[in-house]
Amino acid sequence: MDKLPLLTLIAFTPLLGALVLLFVPKQQGRLIKTIALIATLIPLVLAAALYAAYQASGDPVQFKEMYSWIKIPLNKEGLEQITSFFFEFKYNLAVDGLSLPLVFLTALVSAMAALASFHIKKRWKTFYICFLLLETGMFGVFMAQDLFLFFLFFEITLVPMFFLVGIWGYLDREKAANKFLIYNGIGSAIMLIAFLIIVATVGFTMTQTNNEVILSYSGDIHQIAHNLFQDPNAFVNQAKPNNPFFMSDTMKWTVFLMLLVAFGIKLPIFPFHTWMLRVHTEAPPSIVMIHSGILLKMGAYGLIRFGVLFFPAQAKEAALLLGILGVINILYGAALAVVQREFKLVLAYSSISHMGVVLLGLAAFNTSGLQGAVFQLVSHGLISALLFLLVGSIYERTETTELGALGGLAKSIPFMSGILLIAGMASLGLPGLSGFIGEFLAFVGMFGTYKAVAAVGALGIILAAVYVLRGVLSITFGPIAAQYAGIRDARLVEAIPMITLVAFILLLGIYPSVLSEPLQQTISGMDQLLHSAAGHIGG
């Protein structure tokens, strides 16, 4: 296993599948679907193997793959004693405890969404090519250990997503796609500027060996972390005049806030959330599975990986702000979810609410809170994927997901209604299902830091029960309308992903150690970093 470039295999099998699809005639719907499914199942199996092979103890960063990709020599005129001066762009993949579960989540949700996409009625070939490209992009985002590589993968996800929403969505799909692209484009632009500033300052390294002096710019996140925290002689830490590489506190704050906005759009943090409402309602449900299940997680992931871990002192000072933003997300999303008439919007606003829990966990700045944030990411990924899987299957039969138009479906589709109830219960944080663990840990964490903030946020737990039950019961309980009396329950191809997702939701809820074990090293590393960094800079 050590020799196999496992991460590359996982990340690029979908792309390979997309390439194969190019050569399949577009009329061959069955073949296209089969190839696409295989191209998502292989990474799923590999990701499971990856998860199993990950060592819970020792260095948390594992399965490293690093190759120098582009090396641009820079002008070293006037720098006689310098051996070489260059900018290096590395193909650099690895996983740690934070990205490992997200990689697995991506593989799982993608495979399930590929199955759910069998509902798609037109242009299967283009659809699945976009789909697989998107999957490669998502894998890359969670594996990349280099800022530019991360940015590249991040951008790769935008393009196919734009087409997936714009072509295969509902009536207002084009508007939704445009809004998606503009919003995320702005986010990406801000992110790029922030990254450039980081590389231009922290990314500058001088390596001195016996007779060589090497200057380099690099986006390697470990190099950057090293320069920032472990090397007091690094240029970035030298507050001398005429040192263009020094990062003042003001600059750190600027970059931190830029990252907060850039990833806050994706997460989404109030008030940057309106774009995702449209995507939730207009995109095809199988794509919303991906969008809500994984793409939103990229925002949180980026915020942790770059915002919090590069600028712990700033993040820690902003903790109260983050916590309050989290509570606003929780309550604002929940209150709006309560009054929606369209089930998809209930779910969209509930996603905002649930992402607030992630922020809350982050803002706690202790092991419990950080762990809660990660649990919540994974759990919400599973739950929202399951919910939109159901939305797709129900819409196929009823052609509406308006709460007022539905009712009593438990009579005609008891299996799906049962699964919907389980998904709803998971979403409202019922113990025994995955949603509870993230919520519990995040609130435990926040309670240790800001009790009042956590207590106010806990009101969201009540509201979650209100909007989930209102939504789910309007659909499945009550008298059934005549036109839905004859609809058929889930087919096997629909039931398999439902049962699979429920199984994982149950597994996480009943035995959370499966996730908390591999997380430990990474979380405690992060915790130490946060405390030491915040200690000697802020204190």
Partner: protein, 623 residues
Amino acid sequence: MANDFTSYAWLVPLFPLLAFLVLIAAGRQLREAGAYISIVAMLASFVLALLIFFERLGHTTDYTWNQLKWLTIGDFQLNMGFEVTNLNALMLVIVTLVSLLVNIYSKGYMHGDERVNVFFSYIQLFSFAMLGLVISVNVLELYIFWELVGVCSFLLVGFWYFKPEARAAAKKAFIVTRVGDVGLFLGMLLLFWYMPGHSLDFSAIHNAFSQGKIDPSIATWIAILVFVGAMGKSGQFPLHTWLPDAMEGPTPISALIHAATMVAAGVYLVARTMDIFQASPDAMLVVAYVGGFTAIFAATIGTAQNDIKRVLAYSTVSQLGYMMMALGLGAATAGIFHLFTHAFFKALLFLGAGSVIHAVHTQDIREMGGLAGKMKITAWTFAIGALALSGIVPLSGFWSKDAILSAAFEHNQLLFWVGLIAAFFTAFYMARLFFLVFAGKPRSDAHAHESPAPFTFPLVVLAVLAVIAGFVFTPFNGWLGHWLGDHAEAETANWTVMILSTLAGLLGIGLGYVMYGKNSVSRDIVAGNAPWLYTLVYRKYYIDELYDVVFVRGLRLIGKAFELFDIYIVDGIVRLCSAAVVGIGRLGLRLQNGQVQTYGLATLLGLLILALALAGRRFFHLG
């Protein structure tokens, strides 16, 4: 001191879980067998619970096992496991026994329902969760099962999902109890941060609080928050509104969940964490007063309801209030004792009511009457239950109520009188219920007849228990108190209390008899003379209406306001930005109009700006 059976206590919840899994997986194929699988599983649990109970008769030390690694938080390891104390062992017996009888009863009651196996599977899941709750080793484990029983209650209340009332009731039950659950949740978080070593184990809590290691003000906070959780589950005012509505569920469920077991979980929780409460006199006072108020408040409502199950439901709320009051007064044994006797006679009353409903197909007591002759066993057992609830000597209810009232008499005179008046109302509404249902002439033309054996067998068993269960703890025999390790209980007979409570009971029954049995006093005496009072009580003091206006509509209003904010302000700014970009674009477009003059002007302007900038830079540089 052998623990041969006790060490297998974890099996008690596991049998029903197993049955649940079987029923869920193969429910449709099983048909009739579903009921038998459930009964056998419950019987196994009951037998094991009994064995554990007998094994523990001589014990005073607790049996604890908590080695199941569940979750790691930093350096802290959260383990799961189970614990058997004498209190737990008693609860195991109560829950398995009532559950077993209800399973048997349901075989008759739910016969012919096409989803009967779903019903049985839910009961099994509930029993699993309730038994798990009872033997939980730490607060988090208890909370997990606590929520799980809530969900089972929700599922069973909404079992007839196609009825809009059932849907509303199920939703309400879940949401109102969730309000309480958040209290428990926050209490648990406080415990986590203030307990030495973050331990949530009950044994650790006992040690920390009884040795005064926790700051009293923190103890007050924790105790109040935990109590809020208990209030939700046990239907204490002001979180009581869900329990009467929960009567939309099938009647066996009302007996099992909403009378004997789950609603008592709040009382159990307070008893289990008694050390926290004892560390805070303020919290104890809150518990006592909330309990006392609930007892009298719900009892008065019970006098004006016409739905047989709702009368019983308000009675349950009221009796749970008694239990809380006892705990708040520091009389833990009395509270648990009342929980114990109440489980039997209230389950009996509900199952009796189910038998009646099964026979006459209505729940309105004004349409019943004269059933005593047609349904002898139901009538007799119901009468025993009603007398036990009314606190008539020597039935079980008398002894447990007496224990509570004696404690109140000693510690808090006000609460004693509250309890006594509530006891009068209790006897009155039960007499009213009994005479309206079983005495007089039939008021509808339904051909009622006695229910079959699956109904009557549990009724008889419960009736026997309702008679004798009280003898385990009387002023003349303090066995239960000793066994539960509560040495504070006075064993001296308080004759004043006994006489007063008997008088209150007899008075209530007498009044009920003259109004509804003999009809010598007009039934409308209150409704006629003080219609506002009657309406106030009949409408349950308008609490539901109040909540509807304040919370339901309030929340909707906030949601709507936020929605407008979201559409017009948040998204409005976004649209404004995009409109601004488009506007600038249009401006640029207008510049490209093909007229050389315009281009020339633009060029000139540009040149001017550049020149100025250059000059300015030099100027500043030199300066």
